[in-house]
């Protein structure tokens, strides 16, 4: 038993992080927010070329041929960078919907009565008839509401969404810590105050708990374990974003700080696939 990442897995994670830092840094993120939620098709194709969508498609079918544990690492990075778009749905459609694997086709799906990125998508998995646009809380996830809550979400999609939540939770922890080490009040950096320190420590604990759960679930692919991982990952992403906002004080409440973008996306992901109540029921049923 060795629960650590292999050398190849570390290299994969590093590669994806470098790619996203180069192609979707903070400036690109803020530009995307200002652009009002249009999908960057060129970036989508670059992700396709890098194997983001074809990661789990077998090599003989032209894919990368890696597994769910590797996909989880890649989606953690996407969550860190707040990469927009129906990433999980397109990844799930790779090898099924022509063009999805290459990033030429944007695929979205109906989940929990919601459809993200409906206007930008080239294909929709599920029945989106009667879709009504909402004013989405997340400026980078346009949403439509469809009647009913039909559509069982694939386990892998739930887990990859949880992985994005873990990446976001990790990022907001880093943001809070770095702010706490720089911001001075009462003649010292605020990170020296226990009240602030303890918020940050709580964020790390939530992240580590969720990360261990998500990575283990990617190995066992056990439905109960995946439900538990989603539950803890949602809590880590939303809880950490809120605590990060608190550590930033008044600055955290402004549009200029990035933390609200993490919080809003975390809310959307929490609602989109296996929300808390059903996740808790699923884990309880396993007892």
């Amino acid at each position: 038993m060795d629960f650590r990442l292999t050398e190849d897995q570390r290299a994969l994670r590093r590669g994806v992080r470098d790619l996203l830092e180069g192609r979707f840094d903070r400036e690109a993120l803020r530009a995307a927010v200002d652009a009002g939620g249009a999908l960057d098709r060129a970036l989508w194709r670059e992700l396709g070329a890098a194997g983001f969508f074809a990661l789990r498609v077998p090599e003989e079918d032209g894919g990368v041929g890696l597994g769910l544990p590797e996909a989880v690492l890649v989606f953690e990075e996407a969550g860190r960078a707040l990469l927009p778009g129906p990433l999980v749905a397109t990844h799930m459609a790779a090898g099924v919907v022509p063009g999805a694997a290459e990033g030429d086709v944007v695929v979205t799906a109906v989940e929990e009565g919601l459809v993200p990125w409906l206007d930008e998508a080239d294909a929709v998995v599920g029945d989106a008839s009667g879709a009504v646009p909402m004013r989405s809380v997340d400026p980078l996830t346009p949403l439509h509401r469809v009647p009913g809550n039909a559509g069982a979400t694939a386990l892998e999609a739930v887990l990859l969404t949880a992985a994005e939540q873990v990446g976001s939770a990790e990022r907001t922890t880093e943001a809070a810590v770095s702010h706490a080490r720089e911001r001075e009040q009462f003649g010292q950096v605020i990170g020296g105050f226990q009240a602030v320190k303890h918020l940050c420590a709580g964020m790390l604990v939530r992240t580590e708990l969720a990360r261990a759960a998500v990575r283990a679930a990617s190995l066992t692919v056990d439905p109960v374990e995946i439900a538990g991982a989603k539950l803890l990952a949602d809590e880590a992403a939303t809880g950490n974003a809120r605590d990060c906002l608190q550590v930033h004080g008044g600055m955290g409440f402004t549009w200029e700080a990035d933390v609200h973008l993490h919080l809003k996306r975390a809310w959307v992901r929490a609602e989109l696939r296996l929300p808390a109540a059903r996740a808790e029921e699923a884990v309880a049923a396993g007892l």
Binding site: F3, E208, L209, A216
Partner: protein, 378 residues
């Protein structure tokens, strides 16, 4: 990432399981939880069985994965807990193994593994609990002995212990209070020691005040250098936080299963709020078990003492376990007020988890300062 075990490890697991299946039915009945001399005898008897079957060494010398399998399987089978042997097996033993001389290891380690000798922990003092470095018990060198005078408190199992891992101040004028501390192995039958049991809120006398009046401890009982006891202590505490709770996570998962069965029987399972609460707890204990595996993998790879990751685990675990007993009270209803139920006593005992082995507040400081790199402060 690989959670599977090697063939060799699976073989070890199968052998251990078979042995537990044979051994457990023949155990004597459990003693009264409030009777510590009886508990010592029971716990040491179990340790002796492990020793005779060749499993005692696993607790220290096996690979971390093998140790994990040992803890997992003994807990799943409902085997007795280390109990009175806790300090010897999980604190003092590993510390002596890491920091002791060959003579010290030969003198103290085998009796712990055989269940012949029981240790207690003489760290805390009335004025030095969470602020451990402010301890005042003094030791003055007199020939081949240290003469120790002072008072210890919250000393678990002191009444039934043979040895005490004792922290003393050997240099009151040291430039920092972390220096000038020394780690001694004190025999509990030495003249000058008075043990006064303290009653806990659970009603049991599991720990005690220990008064030390010019107790002579041979210099050869010193582990590590004189005045270097703080460093030795940090080794002890990292064992305490890093690995001492591993088996308990498995125990909690077992308890949660029992609780769900009880809830299904008495109808409380039909309450969706309670059911979801148990689901959430189950997800947390499952994740805690995965963190244990991650920490063990890290320790196995680095071959070292468990790191600050133990604090991440301890912080969440101690709160989750208290939540488990609160949920149990909701399932049991009025029965949760009956001290005749194991659950009730365990619920009371669990109140110590966020205090013992470093309070949650201290653990948060450790996580913030040592892992996140935030500055030391107030």
């Amino acid at each position: 990432m690989d959670l599977s075990c090697t063939d060799e490890e699976e073989e070890f697991r199968a052998r251990l399981k078979a042995w537990l299946t044979r051994e457990l039915p023949g155990l004597p009945p459990k003693p009264d939880p409030l009777d510590w001399p009886a508990r010592r005898a029971y716990d040491c008897g179990w340790q002796r069985r492990l020793y005779d079957a060749g499993y005692a060494d696993v607790q220290w010398d096996a690979s971390p994965t093998q140790r994990l399998i040992f803890l997992e399987e003994t807990e799943l089978a409902g085997a007795p807990y280390v109990g009175a042997n806790f300090v010897g097996l999980l604190h003092a033993g590993p510390t002596i193994a890491a920091e002791g001389t060959p003579e010290q290891r030969a003198r103290w380690l085998p009796p712990v593994l055989r269940g012949d000798e029981v240790w207690c922990q003489g760290f805390s003092e009335p004025g030095a609990g969470s602020d451990l470095a402010s301890l005042r018990t003094r030791a003055v060198r007199d020939g081949d002995a240290y003469v120790v005078t002072g008072q210890k408190i919250w000393t678990s199992h002191a009444e039934v212990a043979d040895w005490c891992e004792l922290l003393v101040r050997t240099d009151p004028d040291a430039p920092s209070r972390h220096r000038g501390i020394t780690w001694l192995a004190m025999p509990m039958d030495a003249p000058g020691i008075t043990v006064r049991p303290l009653r806990t809120l659970a009603g049991s006398a599991e720990f005690a005040e220990v008064f030390l009046d010019e107790v002579r401890v041979p210099v050869e009982n010193r582990v590590g250098e004189e005045n270097d006891g703080w460093r030795v202590t940090m080794v002890t505490l990292s064992f305490e936080r890093g690995t001492a709770f591993v088996g308990e996570v498995v125990a909690c998962r077992r308890l949660l299963g029992e609780l769900a069965r009880t809830a299904r029987k008495n109808g409380t399972w039909d309450d969706p709020v309670l059911r979801r609460r148990l689901g959430r707890l189950s997800a947390e204990f499952q994740a805690l078990w995965r963190i244990v595996q991650a920490n063990v993998s890290e320790a196995q790879a680095t071959g070292g003492v468990p790191g600050a990751g133990g604090s991440v685990f301890k912080l969440h675990y101690s709160h989750a376990r208290q939540e488990l007993y609160e949920a149990a009270a909701a399932v049991l209803g009025p029965d949760a007020l009956d001290l005749g139920r194991d659950w009730t006593l365990d619920r009371l005992s669990s109140l110590s988890y966020t205090i013992a082995a470093g309070t949650s507040q201290i653990q948060r400081n450790i996580v913030a300062e040592r892992i996140l790199g935030l500055p030391k402060g107030r």
